[in-house]
Symmetry: none
Subunit: 402 residues, 2 copies
């Protein structure tokens, strides 16, 4: 439908005392192995009991058949049209790594790579440790500070990754990746996609040559691939749009970045699910909306490790009573997309969705899995509509029309 759904919501949302927890098991949707998906194979007494008291359904992250990245997957769950708001990977990585990004800056994601005779032989430079690569990032910082009046800043990242920031006048992010994406291919320079991006592409390409010179004595990390050029996107801010104090409890940079972009408070937490639950408890009085992110379901899906994915689901099941013990008004359990172990990647398959509140049409379902969700009381909806369901169940939406 041709509406701005978020605009419509913002006009009928009202403040309230109710609390909402959005529990995202990243990449939770899967395909059956020997007739059972990980959600079916896992022992999940708490999730299944919750299913008997909830409304179930399945979400389409973007459109049927479209496999979303983590950005679009999450933006949709937060009620942002993922096609209208397309966010570069550079900015997500930068924000998640606490890189300050100004209005005129262009940031990009970079990889150390190994190049031989102009050919990229290893896109990840033998996967250096974070410590090793940080030293090389420092070396770049010392050697390259400015190109054509544009200030260059480097920020270390995990393993082979780092962030490049360009600061100056007249920069634009409409340029192609300086990364052929495949090994065995020659070095690729950035090309402008608009007249305004011409200067930026020249700076980027000069930067690549300079990086090559500075790193010429390195054996493995002797070049850099740069991609995902992005300026700071102006998104409607979650707390204002929905009139809720919102925080993100997440452990990975990418997800912190998305949350920051929409204006949530990104809070400190530990690396385990129990750490995240502890953080939730500590902050319970301070916020109305809690985005609670579990990463490992996706990681194991990407690894093709079906059994470990099952275990993470069971770990989430174990902490569920602690979350329910906080007496949220609304709890949603869902994913941002599917990551079937058999595909070892994100996929297009619909995503299980469960919403608990006092006001559900409970009683149709007996457990929480892909098939029960496909036949749940909510039906198949777009992920971008999840937010209005949460607000509705939290009694935070006024009636539409007289």
């Amino acid at each position: 439908m041709n509406y701005d759904r978020q605009q419509l919501l913002s006009e009928i949302v009202q403040p309230s005392q109710t609390k909402i927890v959005l529990l995202v098991m990243d990449g939770i949707g899967d395909l059956p192995r020997d007739g059972k998906t990980p959600l079916q194979a896992a022992r999940t007494p708490n999730l299944d009991k919750l299913a008997t008291e909830s409304d179930l359904g399945q979400t389409i992250p973007v459109l049927p058949g479209i496999t979303p990245g983590s950005g679009p997957g999450h933006l949709a769950l937060f009620g942002y049209d993922p096609v209208k708001y397309q966010i570069g990977r550079g900015i997500l990585e930068a924000l998640g790594s606490n890189v300050p990004v100004g209005e005129k800056d262009v940031v990009a994601r970079a990889n150390f790579a190994t190049v031989k005779d102009g050919i990229i032989v290893d896109r990840r430079a033998g996967r250096p440790t974070t410590e090793e690569s940080s030293k090389v990032v420092e070396k770049l910082s010392r050697s390259i500070k400015e190109i054509d009046g544009v200030q260059i800043t480097f920020y270390p990242g995990k393993e082979h990754r780092f962030v490049v920031k360009l600061t100056g006048e007249g920069l634009d992010d409409k340029l192609t990746d300086a990364d052929p994406q495949k090994e065995g291919k020659p070095i690729l320079f950035a090309e402008p996609l608009s007249e305004q991006a011409k200067k930026t592409s020249q700076v980027v390409n000069e930067l690549m040559k300079r990086i090559g010179q500075v790193l010429s004595d390195e054996t493995k990390m002797n070049f850099a691939l740069i991609r995902g050029f992005s300026k700071y996107p102006r998104l409607p801010q979650f707390p204002q749009v929905y009139k809720m104090r919102a925080c993100a409890i997440a452990t990975y940079p990418m997800y912190k970045g998305i949350a920051k972009l929409v204006g949530m408070d990104v809070v400190e937490t530990g690396s385990t699910i129990q750490d995240e639950v502890n953080t939730l408890k500590e902050l319970w009085e301070k916020y109305d909306f809690f985005y609670f992110h579990v990463k490992k379901t996706d990681s194991y899906g990407e690894d093709g490790d079906f059994d470990s994915k099952v275990h993470v689901i069971e770990d989430v099941d174990k902490v569920l009573p602690q979350i329910m013990g906080l007496k949220p008004d609304v709890l949603v359990v869902t994913g941002d997309h599917s990551t079937p172990a058999i595909l070892k990647s994100h996929s297009w398959h619909a995503v299980p969705f469960m919403i608990w509140s006092l006001y559900t049409r409970k009683g149709l379902n007996k457990s929480f899995d892909e098939f029960e969700c496909a036949r749940g009381s909510i039906g198949t909806i777009y992920a971008v509509d999840a937010m209005s369901l949460m607000l509705a169940h939290a009694l935070r939406l006024e009636k539409f029309g007289a």
Copy 2:
């Protein structure tokens, strides 16, 4: 959602070696007689086995409640927004009958009719044989060649139908049908819907008078009703948009016409389903995408012949192992709309949809019919999204966003 879905797809589609078969049983959706729809009443062991290994769902051809013609029904399945791309029946009939249509031409579909004292008494002129009507078309061709500088060409069609083509400068297709659509009504002339169509309407109306004069000595075929005025519509071309070599295996002009319009190769085939399967086998290496059309399910639906529709379904079931024997990567079995025998016409009811690949959430369904599809793992989707599901299952789509 307010996107050009096809545009979005075209940006993330990538070439691949995978093969897709889209098997369209025209008008397959139906309503129950004695508690069973034709799909349920038919003995379909092969379709049912496939259902256990597939994702099932149902499609909405245009919008809920909207009954589509064959044009919109098929365009949607091919991923073309059927409201954005509205195609005149004239052009479909012309293309399917191998009438060459130039950029400035206007074509229309015509019926021989019987008129008495200015009143239409038979809209199909007693359903002449194709041979009988062809002779009368020849007579028209000899007698009427030009009106006001516009060249007139007639092409014979099946039974009472033929095609009229106008060739000249300044022609436009925005005019009303010169056909009251009902018997017992007076002759109706075309009216321009825009200033630009004024000249065309004058030519058409003069043409009708001339046809009446030329045929005045005919007893039945003594007049013509002309409708569906259309110029050649410029549609995005399927092989370019989806990066696939595509062919259409269809036996009726209408469907060949639609396929030609979107740029598929329309290949020669025989008139039976087995003929079509043989063509599929012969061309297997030559194409990536096969649109395979079965007409008779719709024809018998239109005739109200429930039992014959059941038999056609059983015939399709029998050839299914031959199609699967070719080892397609993706097989879709669906329809372009429903044609319930009880209605004897197209209808608005959702259409059964089944997609088979190695990457389905198999196991939820036991058979292929309207009810199983309504409770399948895909849910209810728009037909225009079928194409992205096919491409996804064929691993031909890149991830959307970071």
